[in-house]
Symmetry: D3
Subunit: 138 residues, 6 copies
C-alpha cells in the first residue's frame, strides 16, 4: 500500500462563536478566539491519497493534477478569506481545526474518487506548528 | 559584540487598504489582500538586542525579562487581534510586514533602552515562511 | 474519526546506564550516552487524542485544557530536569526515547479518560529532528 | 506497540521517462521532469521499525545500528548519484517518490528482519517539503 | 532601513569538475561531487532588497512583482535543470553554492535597480539545511 | 564579499550557577536553570566564514574541511557532554548561549586563520528554536 501526500498552505481569518450561546459562555469556552473581529493563521494542509503505483508512470496519482484539485476545490475558496464570513460550510460549523479537516475532506473526496485509481485517505490540517487535526473519513 | 535573539509568534488578521485610493486602485495594488473581510497569518517575530555579556550572569539581557517585555508590549496587543481594527498604529499605517517590523521596533525600543545594558538592534517579522522584513532602526 | 494533536517541548538531561551491567558492557551498548555526567536534548512531544467533534463547540477536546494537562502531568515534572535523577519512572526504566513515549502515555491516559469524550491515541516523542518514537498503547 | 523512526537525507539526480512512450507522451505526462539532463533533490528518508522495548537496554533496536544499516543499504548507493543511471532498480522502475519508497523498503526489509526483534513497518520519503510517499509493505 | 526578503525554491542537478585538472585532482578536491552523472538538491533562495517604505502602499517593493522577477530571471532558467549543462554561467563557473549566490545576484541586480525605489542587498542560497552562502555584492 | 555557513548540532547538559552568589540569588536570577542536576539541549551551531571565491574550485573554503574543523575543535569536546563539568572554559564562564557563542569563536578562529584564504566572521548558536546568540568577534 502506497500513500502519497501533497502539502499546501493558505492564509485565512476566523473566529469561534456559537450563536446559541450567550456572550459570556462564548468567551468562557473560546477565550480570545471569540473576538469577532477575527484573527488568522497560515494553515498547512496535507492531503493523502492511497492506491497502487501505475507501472507505466510510477505514479499513484499525478501530483500536478492533485495540486490543481486542491487549489480549485480548497485554496481558491479558503485562501485570503474570512472563513466564517465567506466560506459556506463555516456559516454553520465553527471553523475549528477539526471542522476544517472534515470540510476539506468533503471537498476533495468526490473529485479524487471521480479520477479513479486512488482514494482519499487522510486530510491533516495544521493551524500552527503546535496544533493539527487529522480526518480519515467516517 | 554579542547579538541575542528571542523568537515569539502571534496570530492576527489584517487587510491592505488605502482609503485615499479607489476600490479599483486598491485591488490593482493589493490583489487578494484588499479583501476587507480580512485574512490572517501566524506571524513569527525575532527580536535582537546587542550588548556586552555580564560576567556575573553570562547574560546580555535576561531572556525571561525580554520574553515578558515582548509579551506585554507586542503580543498582548497583536495576538488574536484584527490589526487594522484593533491596533492603534494600523488605523493609520497599512499593516504590511514592513510596517509591522517598524511598529514592533517602536514598541520595544524604549523599554529595552530603559532596562540599560543592551540596545535593540533588529526586529525581524515573518508573515509566512517565504516573506520576512527586518528593521534595524533609522 | 478525528485525531487532534497538540505539540509541546521540554529540555532535559539524561544518560543511559544499566546498573546490572559492567561499565564495559554499558559503554559497548550505549556509547557516548553512557557518560554519567549526562547530556541533554530539546524534546518535542506530540500528544494525539481521538474522538467525535462536539457540534456545539467544534472541538474534540478543548486544546487549552489539553495544553494544561500536558504541562501539569509532564512538563512540570520533566522540563529542566535530569530525567534519571529527578523523575521517578526513570529511576527504573532507562530514559530512551521509546521509554519516554511510554511514560508520557502512562501519565496522560487517565486524565484524558477522566475528562470524557476523547481517548489518548498516540504519543510521539522526538529526541532530535532525526529520531522519534511513537507509542499507541498496548 | 512502539514505533521507532530514524531520519536520514541524501541528494540525488533523477528524471522521469518511459522508453515505451513517445517523446510527446513523456512530456505530456511528466512535464519538466522529463528533461533527460536530470534535475535533483535533497531527499529525506524516515525509516520506522516496530517492536517491543528490550527491558535491559530500553531499545526497540539500537539506533546506531539502524543508522549504519540505512547508510550501507541505501545512502551509499543513492547519495550523490544519478538514480536512473547508477542505481539498478531505477534502470527499470521510474524513480518517482512512490517507487523510491518501495525500493528503500526492499533494501531494508531483510536486514531489519535478520537482526531480529523488530520489523520494518514504514518507509517515508520526502522529495521536497511539499511531497512525500509512504510505503507500509504489501 | 528596511530589508524585505522573499524566499523561493528550485530543484536542480549539478556536479563539480575543473576541466584543467586531472581526474585524480578533481576527485581529491571534490570527492563525491565530482561524479559527472550529476546529483541534485532542493535549493532555497532568499532574495533581500533594501529601501524606504512607500507611505501609500506600505511596501518597500511589491512582493508579487519581486516573486515574478525571481521566477522569470532565476527559476525559469534553473529549476528542473542540470546547472552545468543547461545554464550558461555554469558552463564556465563551477556551480558551487557560492557561485550560485553570485550568479543569482547578477541576474537580479539590474531588474531590481530598473524598477527603482529599492536595491538588491543580499542573496542567500541554501544547498541543504546545513550549507548556505550569502553574497552582498562587491 | 561571500559568506559561507556550515551548520552542525550537538546535544549537551548544562546549568547556570554563580558560585559567588547565594543559592537564593542564583535561583532568583537563573530560575529553573539553576537546578544543579543539569538539564540539556540540542544546540544548533552555524559557523560563517568570509572570503573570496577561489576561481579554480569555486570554494571560499572546502566545506568538508570546515566540517572536520568544527567536529574536531567543538563537537568532539561539547557533544554528549556536561558543559559545566567536562568543558574547561565552562568551569569558569557560565554556559549561557552567549558564552557558548564566544567560546566556539575562540576555538575556531585560529584554525580558520591558519588555513588561510578566509576568516571566521560569525558564530551563531541556537539553544532552542526560540533563542539564539551571535558573536561577530571583538
Amino acid at each position: 500500500m502506497i500513500l502519497l501526500t501533497r502539502r499546501a498552505t493558505f492564509s485565512a481569518s476566523h473566529y469561534y462563536w456559537n450563536p446559541e450561546w450567550s456572550e459570556e459562555k462564548n468567551i468562557a469556552v473560546f477565550g480570545r478566539c471569540a473576538n469577532r473581529n477575527g484573527h488568522g493563521h497560515n494553515y498547512t494542509l496535507e492531503v493523502t491519497v492511497t492506491g497502487e503505483v501505475d507501472p507505466l508512470s510510477g505514479f499513484v496519482v499525478d501530483l500536478k493534477w492533485l495540486k490543481d484539485v486542491i487549489e480549485r476545490e480548497v485554496l481558491d475558496v479558503y485562501d485570503h478569506r474570512h472563513l466564517n464570513k465567506e466560506v459556506p460550510e463555516f456559516a454553520v460549523a465553527i471553523p475549528t481545526t477539526e471542522n476544517i479537516a472534515i470540510a476539506v475532506w468533503k471537498r476533495l473526496e468526490a473529485p479524487v474518487k471521480a479520477a479513479g485509481g486512488a482514494r482519499l485517505s487522510r486530510v491533516r490540517v495544521y493551524e500552527t506548528d503546535d496544533i493539527f487535526a487529522e480526518y480519515l473519513g467516517e
